[in-house]
Structure formats: C-alpha cells, structure tokens
Symmetry: C2
C-alpha cells in the first residue's frame, strides 16, 4: 500500500475517466472481459501476450477497486478465480467504443501494425 492515490481531484471528466483506464493493459483487460464474458487469471494472461503476472494482478485489483471488474473466488483446490465486468465496467466499455473506432481509423491512417493477440478469436 504505497501507491494508487487515485480518485481525484480531477480537471474534468476525461481526466477522471482516463485515470481509470490508464495502465498499459487496462483497456485490453476491459476488451478481453467484454468479449469473453468471464475469464480466469491464467486465461487473461494468455490473452494478453507480454503482460507480467505482477502487472495483470495489479491492474485487476485497481479495476476491481474502481468497480469495473468483479472477482469471483471459488474456494477449491486447485484455486479458481473468475474475473468479469460489472455493469459499470460494461458502461465504460461502451463509451470507449467510439474511441476505439477512431483509433482503428488512425491505425489505417498511419499504417500502424497490429500485434497479434492469440486466444482472442474464441
């Protein structure tokens, strides 16, 4: 417990929204969970090639704290934890969609490459 001041003060709404999305993998996590409905920790790892365990859990915890992600723990052996979007997370995803389209257009515009994300077409 040393970081994550979070929750303002903010300059404006965009500032407040960005605070919740900023983080190298957060928008990807949002996207993964939105498309798969629910994912286990290891599944998310596989879906986000390059992410470290540390970053993934750190982002997930923050997103949970921010009310975007729901964490369901099954007290079993071996352990099982499922992550999914809350309604709030879904609503964020919705307003992010136009931005995503803009970005896709930008990729075309500048001829940017897309890193292939395996386990995403499921």
């Amino acid at each position: 417990m040393a970081k994550s001041a979070r929750r303002g003060p903010y300059f404006c709404g965009i500032d407040a929204a960005m605070d919740v999305v900023t983080g190298k993998w957060k928008s990807l996590i949002l996207w993964e969970l939105h498309h798969h409905g629910t994912r286990r920790f290891a599944e998310l790892r596989r879906g986000l090639p390059g992410v470290s365990e540390k970053m993934l859990i750190q982002h997930l915890r923050e997103m949970e704290e921010d009310g975007l992600v729901h964490r369901e723990v099954y007290r079993e052996v071996p352990p099982k934890v499922e992550y999914s979007l809350t309604e709030y997370g879904v609503s964020l995803n919705a307003v992010l969609a136009p931005l995503g389209e803009w970005g896709t257009e930008r990729m075309r515009r500048i001829g940017a490459e897309k890193v292939s994300v395996n386990a995403v077409t499921t």
Copy 2:
C-alpha cells in the same frame, strides 16, 4: 531525440487512440483548444494551471506530429505562435466526449473534487 517511438504496433484501436491522448495534459489541451478555437503558448499555460513549459511544449509537439494540432508561427518581434485544433483533432475531441461524460458521472459517484481551472469560462 530519444523517446517517442509512438505509432504502434498496437493491440487494438483503443490502444492506438490512447497512445495519442496519454500524457498528463493532452486531453486538457484538446479541451482548451476546442473551446477557445485558437490559443497562444502563454494563454495555454495560463489555462492549464500547474503545467510546466517543458511538458506543454512537449505535448504540443507530439500532438502536432500526430496531426491533432496546428501550429501557426508569426514571424514577428516579439514572437507569436498560435495553436489550434486540426479537423482530425476535432474528431478526436468528438469521440472523447462520451468518455468525458462517463468521467463526470464517475466524479459524482465517488465524490471526487474538481480542480478549478481559471480562464476556462471565457
């Protein structure tokens, strides 16, 4: 010239869009320029309380490079430079709007404070 790889590769559209908006003051710059139409360097500084010259010019340069901002130089003494949004910048602002509303709602939700931005009500 040591930083600013920029332009991909990206995981998805949101990734590509975020790349252009990420930076502590970029969304604010977008907002300022959108509301004032055109602003001089010093005016932007005043409108963004707390920004350093370095960060402001750095962000402006990147946004110019990204095609979001237009930089008009008047070869006068004393120097005069005016910044404004390009059509592309305006289009980004448009897709950012829903995100801004979501963020504003989030501020209400969590009771976040808003830092007062002077010279903004003009």
